[in-house]
């Protein structure tokens, strides 16, 4: 997965991996395991998990802005069914849904 740029396209159904390692992770806890839709590909960036421990020479990884339905994220969500949340997720945290 690492280094694979634009593995997903806007509109693709994706799921954030459900994993709980230690370390500096930018995929928020509450979104792990949740399914959403790619809103856009944001380009390639250094991997924060590696950069946080001074490993700066690894290959860049893709970043995707993913849109989730709030009702999917929070089972007890009180709001409109159309309410949504957008989060940028690095490629190594995404799998096809």
């Amino acid at each position: 997965m690492t280094g694979a740029s634009a593995a997903f396209a806007a509109g693709d159904a994706v799921r954030v991996r459900r994993a709980f390692p230690i370390g500096h992770v930018r995929a928020p806890f509450y979104i792990r395991g949740k399914a959403g839709t790619v809103e856009r590909y944001c380009g390639e960036f250094g991997n924060p998990e590696e950069r946080s421990v001074m490993q700066e020479d690894g290959p860049p990884i893709g970043l995707y802005r993913v849109r989730f339905r709030q009702a999917e994220v929070w089972p007890d969500y009180r709001g409109r069914p159309e309410d949504s949340i957008d989060i940028e997720i690095y490629a190594n945290w995404l799998e096809r849904a």
């Binding site: 928020p28 944001c42 970043l63 009180r78 309410d83 949504s84 949340i85 957008d86 989060i87 940028e88």
Partner: protein, 206 residues
């Protein structure tokens, strides 16, 4: 209310009389870094000035232009940094995304992991943006948080939260308030508050 540009806030005591542990550390670090030529006193001064010059007035100019000029708005939504450059607003390397509020959609920005904020356009963030309560609740109960700011979103309007935790930075393009037709850009900019560009408030009425 707390829109950040028309009233002064009390200055938090600088505690220079009795600096705390981390203030002492900050002074020690500054001295050591200057001695080691990591940066110069001049560079430090210039960076502080640069940040002092940033503030919601920059974002307000961009929003006011978008309200006044539909073609600019289209360019702003397509490429935020380029549109800001057009106005002579230098946002450096910030990857700015502008979120358009529409009758059917209201946008709200938060960073749950730290406090990522569009500093280049809005300056330093207010304390509440960095607060635990905002970071915890904005993603899960955005409508309740909006109500605490006195902002009522019509029932027919969807709310979209943007958890800004990675590389992009977001500002909200609020809807132009009714009655603002025909105002010039300076008058329009005066209606645009910082909180409206974060998405917790609506612009002022003319």
């Amino acid at each position: 209310m707390h829109d950040g540009h028309d009233h002064a806030h009390p200055l938090r005591p600088d505690r220079d009389e009795h600096p705390g542990y981390y203030q002492v550390m900050a002074t020690a670090l500054r001295e050591l870094l200057l001695e080691k030529n990591v940066f110069t006193a001049e560079e430090l001064r210039r960076q502080m000035e640069k940040m002092d010059e940033r503030g919601p007035h920059l974002g307000a100019r961009v929003v006011a232009r978008a309200w006044a000029d539909a073609a600019f708005k289209t360019r702003l939504l397509a490429d935020g940094p380029a549109a800001c450059r057009e106005l002579g607003v230098d946002i450096g390397p910030t990857r700015l995304v502008v979120l358009e509020n529409r009758p059917e959609l209201h946008n709200l920005v938060v960073c749950t992991l730290c406090s990522c904020y569009p500093r280049a356009l809005l300056g330093l963030p207010p304390d509440w943006y960095k607060s635990v309560n905002y970071r915890r609740r904005a993603v899960r109960e955005p409508r309740a948080v909006l109500e605490e700011f006195g902002t009522r979103i019509p029932d027919g309007t969807a709310v979209r939260v943007h958890d800004s935790t990675a590389e992009l930075r977001y500002i909200v393009l609020p809807m132009r308030p009714a009655g603002a037709e025909g105002l010039d850009e300076a008058a329009l900019a005066a209606l645009v508050t910082r909180d409206a560009m974060i998405g917790v408030a609506l612009p002022k009425a003319p």
